[in-house]
């Protein structure tokens, strides 16, 4: 039955007429007034900004779900091996730099808030896994605060635009500034959100302490 479904879908693909509506033309026509020079960023944060806003809210809800299924107990930090720690000490500053660069470059070349947030989240996970000792552990409540702050900043900017006629209706001269503002907030907040999926996962009772002594 599954092969029948596959056959139907593939044959439907061959049957399509050429596209009537050419969206790339629309985007290219209005790119100049969107505030950024890269079309994907313009679509994400200007032409389809609502989608991005709701996506950030969905991520926050998913984090609430992960936290609701069990809070992490204070566990002893990973005793990662020395090679991993050495790699982490070299790689982490570079990852931070790469994240800031990706955020800034998103305006005129591939990049943007999501890619920067992904690199930052990966840096946080690497930091945790390599077992670099810090003097005190971060307070989990900050995860929630920073994550919600990103959503609230996005909504605040959107609401501030209400004076122009609709939510997220940027004035064309300042659109670039507002997009960068939202993207900066989103980078930090999404990075914390994504990292929290790993860092705040529950350790159920009876779970062995995660001491990584494997070679």
């Amino acid at each position: 039955m599954l092969t029948l479904l596959a056959g139907l879908l593939v044959s439907a693909l061959f049957d399509l007429p050429p596209a009537q509506i050419r969206l790339p033309v629309f985007v290219a026509d209005h790119l100049a007034e969107s505030g950024v020079r890269h079309p994907v960023t313009a679509v994400l944060l200007n032409f389809r900004g609502y989608d991005t806003f709701l996506e950030v809210v969905v991520l926050l809800l998913a984090l609430v779900g992960v936290l609701a299924s069990g809070l992490p107990k204070d566990r002893s930090p990973f005793t990662g091996n020395v090679l991993l720690q050495a790699l982490a000490r070299h790689a982490l500053p570079l990852m931070l730099l790469a994240a800031v660069y990706l955020l800034w470059a998103g305006a005129h070349q591939p990049g943007g808030a999501f890619q920067a947030a992904a690199v930052l989240a990966a840096a946080a996970v690497l930091f945790e896994l390599s077992g670099i000792r810090t003097s005190k552990r971060p307070d989990p409540r900050w995860f929630r605060r920073i994550t919600s702050a990103g959503v609230l900043l996005f909504f605040a900017v959107a609401a501030a635009m209400l004076g122009n006629g609709a939510l997220l209706q940027y004035p064309p001269e300042q659109a670039g500034f507002f997009i960068l503002l939202i993207e900066s907030g989103l980078t930090l907040s999404l990075a914390v959100n994504l990292a929290a999926f790993f860092l705040l996962r529950s350790t159920e009772p009876g779970d062995a302490q995660a001491t990584d002594n494997e070679p």
């Binding site: 969206l23 991520l59 998913a62 999404l190 999926f197 159920e204």
Partner: protein, 106 residues
């Protein structure tokens, strides 16, 4: 056949693979993997069909970017639920302080 159309076909096949996996597989983790395959297949269909004449199209690319991030969040939630399912407890342990103030964590 352009590369867009080719990868759209690949996306359809991935979707069917994933659907078969969700229906037929037993282990929860495998089902989560299959569900992710369905998602990736859908993304390929979205971008591949829009670009079947060769020109890059930013709108479905932005949608797929959103989709990838949401898929990560959904996978994280699904894995948390699967782990909770496997611990065998019927509820998470109740908070230590009955007034349930959020000053304590873990």
């Amino acid at each position: 056949m352009s590369s867009g159309l080719l990868f759209a076909i690949v996306g359809c096949l991935l979707f069917v693979f994933g659907l078969g996996g969700v229906i037929l597989l037993d282990h929860l983790l495998r089902r989560i993997l299959a569900f992710n395959l369905m998602g990736s297949g859908t993304f390929l269909v979205l971008v591949g069909l829009a670009q079947r004449d060769g020109t890059p199209d930013p709108v479905p690319q932005a949608m797929v970017l959103t989709g990838i991030v949401v898929a990560v969040a959904a996978t994280a939630l699904a894995l948390a639920l699967a782990r909770r399912l496997h611990t065998g407890a019927s509820n998470p342990p109740p908070p230590a302080n009955p007034t349930c103030r959020d000053d304590r964590h873990a």
